[in-house]
Symmetry: C2
Subunit: 164 residues, 2 copies
DNA sequence: TTGCTAATGTTATAATGTTGCAAATTCCGC
DNA sequence: GCGGAATTTGCAACATTATAACATTAGCAA
């Protein structure tokens, strides 16, 4: 395993984006779903950032594109992308981020850096299992699980104070 | 342990509320914080429901009280109550619920029923540990942990279909 | 009292998300 | 290709959630 997770080190992110888009096209084909230009463009925009984008951020970029879009356009595209597992909504940020496990069955867990804003999506079976177990103890049947951890990423961990 | 968690069975909820308020007064005293009438009333309103209340729900009840409050009044009271660990914000619902572990150091996990809307707060050490571990593996330093599980509570679990 | 701080009031506005309907596009069987 | 059905998009209005900025008041101590 590499020394640090992808968002935390430099890389050619265009490649990530291109791969994500290719994967999305493939997934949509399998699902018999139409990855229309607007939807694809929204997915691309979201992927171009390791930081989550708000719906209105997306809207603003579309406007720069010359696409005279209204909020429903963006929200509909985002709904579509979510339904097909291509993006996740981060509830604590009201924002969206590309799914790095598209196509796989997974329960995401998100590490959100307070300082740099980057978000790392993790598949943590230990966490999923613990959640499932805790819910089962209450006879609760889980459906959607939201796990969002805000804190400091390796690059932004505050220096330990020496003077105390 | 009782057969089902509190929100799921009938009980005299006024007692819960009264206890919560008494506890809140005590905690605020310890913190040297002022549980003013507005703050206390907001806490009471939130506690009177097992379902999370939105800020504007609270506002509406305050209006019925004859308190001519504006949004900042409510949001400020809620901020105060959150800071002192008396209520939690449920990010996936934009709503607030009374903390059932006020004063204790805890990481809440919330079971939110799609059908009846009730929310159960749980302290699940297994989950917390798994989250801490998963974060540590990424050298991530957690600060706020949000765990919200939407699904079906024991009273609302859909009947298993017999015809398939 | 005087003066400081915390708390509240007030107005306006920002940010986020939805509804409903009409127009356009795409799909699909013929 | 053609026509009807279904999906997608455009668009306007609106609903909900949250905050900014500044004035006022209440609590409290010197």
């Amino acid at each position: 395993m590499s020394s640090s997770a992808l968002p935390y080190r430099p890389h050619n992110h265009e490649v990530c984006v291109a791969q994500a888009l290719a994967e999305a096209r493939s997934i949509c084909q399998q699902h018999n779903a139409r990855l229309t230009p607007t939807r694809e463009r929204v997915l691309e925009l979201i992927w171009q950032s390791h930081k989550p984008l708000g719906a209105y951020d997306v809207l603003a970029v579309l406007a720069e594109d010359g696409h005279n879009a209204a909020p429903p356009t963006v929200y509909r595209a985002l709904d579509f992308l979510q339904q097909h597992g291509l993006v996740h909504r981060i509830a604590s940020l009201n924002a969206f981020i590309g799914c790095t496990h598209a196509g796989e069955r997974h329960n995401g867990m998100f590490l959100i850096c307070h300082t740099c804003g980057n978000v790392l999506e993790l598949t943590a079976p230990g966490v999923s299992n613990a959640v499932t177990l805790a819910a089962a103890e209450q006879s609760f049947q889980p459906d959607d699980v939201t796990i969002e951890v805000a804190g400091y990423c390796p690059r932004c961990v505050p220096e330990p104070a020496h003077d105390r």
